[in-house]
């Protein structure tokens, strides 16, 4: 494996000041990310643009002469008139107006060769920016398979920039791309292009360039229409949508269980080895109970999170997600939001933070505010470990609908539904009272259906694993260590105290009256505090607390919980986690996005009241 290079820092080759940053730009869904992945392999990182959190992907490519080129995967644009935040970032970087990134030395404009006459319209605008530009006509494999063809030399002669026909999937044309990246990025010769900012003229020009390049458009693919007929069917469409959602939740449990068992026993076995290697000391306690126990109990949930993201990836890459947005539009309207809010809300199933960011694509400020206020109510992936632990401990598995839906998956589905309906109800309240506005126009491009590729799915999962493990290695690790110390002081006769008499114990007992009405004890109370850092921290906290209390090693966390919590208490805890804003990063992001503490404070209080009252009710009902 090649050594990891921190992309975007310094070039290892040539003078350090030499700028070898190349931006990959183009319309959405032309394969920019696939192309970027193909060039950089695993030598990439996902980060946020400082100041605004639109994800940026940086990667680097080593050339065989030892040189290095840094690549940026930019968000898709349909022109140079950005309307949303991510489009604005893309255009600013290309124009060299970004405060945080230097202007790239060159650009690669990616276009879809199967829709060339329309996509060539992007060329005058991008070339007009004055960067040395390589135009890549991607999807060459599909163009050929469907009987299309194009003379790239003729295109190149007319636009005055190098043109390559390539495929990010098969790798065709990549040598020519690498040759461009190795070159000296000399500005191209001047060629007469139509006036920028006149879209009808650009369209005319694009169609005539295609015609003069003997462009044969590929046969339209018929199965796209057939699939639409199925997925957008008046009755079948919504039913398929439901079936897909149920399948995702069922497999989170059935598929993930054996993998999780394997991870769990690996953690147990390795803890045994470490225990045998280290002499008895405070450090050993910290390593075994604090770090291994706390972080380990969170890492166990990686398989479930990856399965969730695998499904999201499948839905997105196949093109189904946009159809789901079309189906959801009507419901979004019913609660007073525009259909565009669907996409941020959907991504809040992964994490509320990108969702709050993605709400920037909504131009109507009131809709945007409503969207980012309700986003933390939808079930983010950080709740999954908490749900999974409590469900496994308290819900016996029984088949409900034959082999298709069991009780556990049904409860999980119910929790997701609770979050969803709370979000909708809140949106409706907001939109019919404080944030009234006229509905905005809804325009949504539907990408072509495609087979998701193993490659692209793999990259998504690697990205997710990195993010999850980074969290486990930072926020979760730090909270676990702090908690471990709180639980180990004050020493009594040179020994750590029983947990109840430790500092953590006294904090827990102080807040116990607050959590008692929900059927929770002070240990869970400590978890509710530590999990303000991140929801999944509660799993590690309980791991640490129960691991430390027991005499003969760590009892399985589930058994410990079963002994300490009533069924009603468990349901109350689930409700609390479904609705409470247990995530300081989200609070911080909402503060930044709304420019003050008012909205995050209201949001935090509202969600706390909702969480506490439903938890209280659940404990009353289920005892």
């Amino acid at each position: 494996m090649p050594t990891a290079v921190e992309p975007g820092t310094a070039t290892r080759h040539g003078s350090p000041s030499e700028n070898r940053v190349v931006a990959i730009c183009g319309p959405p869904n032309v394969g920019k990310s696939s192309f970027f992945n193909r060039l950089t392999g695993l030598r990439q990182k996902v980060a946020n643009y400082p100041g605004i959190t639109v994800e940026k992907r940086l990667g680097s490519l080593r050339l065989e002469d030892g040189g290095q080129v840094d690549l940026i995967d930019l968000p898709g644009i349909v022109g140079l008139h950005p309307r949303s935040e991510d489009e604005r970032v893309c255009v600013e970087i290309l124009r060299g107006q970004s405060d945080t990134l230097p202007r790239p030395a060159a650009a690669i404009l990616l276009l879809d060769s199967t829709n060339l006459q329309a996509h060539l319209r992007m060329v005058p605008g991008i070339l007009g920016l004055g960067l040395p530009t390589l135009v890549v006509l991607n999807m060459a494999d599909e163009l050929e398979a469907r009987g299309g063809s194009v003379d790239t030399k003729a295109v190149s002669a007319q636009i005055g920039a190098p043109v390559v026909l390539a495929s990010a999937v098969t790798g065709a044309g990549m040598e020519e791309v690498v040759r461009f990246l190795r070159g000296s990025f000399a500005p191209a010769g001047k060629v007469e292009l139509p006036v920028i900012n006149n879209i009808p003229a650009e369209r005319q020009w694009a169609h005539s360039v295609a015609a003069r390049s003997s462009y044969h458009a590929p046969e339209p693919s018929l199965w796209g229409r057939r699939l639409d007929r199925i997925f957008l069917h008046p009755v079948g469409g919504p039913l398929i949508f439901l079936a897909v959602v149920i399948a995702v939740f069922q497999s989170i449990f059935t598929l993930a269980v054996p993998i999780m068992d394997a991870v769990e026993s690996a953690i147990g076995v390795s803890a045994g080895w470490i225990g045998a290697l280290l002499p008895d000391s405070m450090l050993k306690g910290l390593l075994l109970d604090g770090v291994w126990g706390g972080v380990g109990s969170v890492v166990v949930f990686l398989p479930q999170i990856l399965i969730l993201f695998l499904f999201i990836g499948l839905l997105e890459d196949s093109g189904y997600l946009a159809r789901a947005a079309v189906i959801a539009d009507r419901s979004m309207r019913a609660v007073g939001l525009e259909g565009r809010s669907f996409i941020p809300l959907l991504s809040s199933y992964a994490c509320a933070i990108p969702a709050v960011m993605a709400a920037r694509t909504i131009e109507n400020q009131r809709d945007r505010l409503a969207t980012l206020l309700i986003a933390p109510l939808t079930t983010c992936s950080a709740r999954l470990p908490v749900y999974a632990l409590l469900i496994a401990a308290f819900i016996p598995e029984r088949p409900l609908i034959g082999p298709f839906l069991g009780t556990r998956a049904a409860v999980l589905l119910g929790l997701y539904a609770a979050g969803f309906f709370a979000a909708c109800g809140t949106a409706w309240l907001l939109k019919s009272a404080v944030l009234k506005s006229k509905p905005a126009p809804f325009v949504l491009q539907l990408p072509a259906y495609r087979w998701p590729t193993i490659r692209s799915l793999t990259f998504r999962l690697v990205d997710r694993s990195k993010i999850f493990l980074r969290r486990a290695g930072t926020v979760i690790l730090v909270t676990t260590i702090v908690l471990w110390f709180l639980a180990s002081v004050p020493y009594q006769n040179g020994e750590p105290p029983p947990i109840g008499e430790s500092l953590a114990g006294s904090i827990g007992r102080t807040i116990e009256p607050l959590v008692e009405p929900l059927g929770l004890n002070w240990k869970i109370g400590i978890g509710l505090i530590t999990s303000l850092a991140a929801r999944e921290v509660i799993v590690g906290t309980l791991g640490t607390i129960y691991g430390m209390e027991s005499d003969e090693g760590s009892p399985a966390l589930q058994q410990a919980l079963q002994a300490e919590l009533s069924f009603g208490g468990a349901i109350a805890l689930l409700m609390y986690f479904a609705f409470a804003m247990q995530c300081m990063s989200t609070v911080a992001i909402v503060r930044r996005e709304t420019g003050g503490w008012t909205w995050p404070a209201i949001q935090f209080a509202y969600m706390l009241v909702l969480a506490y009252s439903t938890g209280f009710a659940a404990y009353r009902i289920f005892g």
Binding site: H81, V326, V443
Partner: protein, 91 residues
């Protein structure tokens, strides 16, 4: 299907192709719709009306775009005889 009078996009029946004449929006919305392919001179066809909702899916400049009826109503079509299709883009 568009007749002698200028018609709007929301009244295009599924399967029928017509040519866009003008967009009646404020500048920023007009530019965005053009960037998505609704350019005067482009041929557009209605692919399907999404049931229960008020969305329709159009094929324009080689891509599929979903629009609300009220948005489509502000895009006018060139008066043309049936089937005339000067800019058919084979894909």
């Amino acid at each position: 299907m568009p007749d002698t009078e200028s018609d709007s996009l929301d009244r295009l029946s599924p399967g029928v192709t017509a040519v866009i004449a003008a967009l009646d929006f404020e500048e920023a919305d007009r530019v965005r719709l053009m960037e998505l392919g609704f350019i005067p001179g482009s041929s557009v066809s209605c692919q399907r009306v999404v049931p229960l909702g008020d969305l329709a899916i159009f094929q324009v400049e080689g891509t599929q775009v979903a629009l609300r009826k009220e948005t489509a109503a502000r895009i006018t079509l060139q008066a043309s005889d049936a089937g005339r299709n000067p800019d058919a883009d084979g894909g």
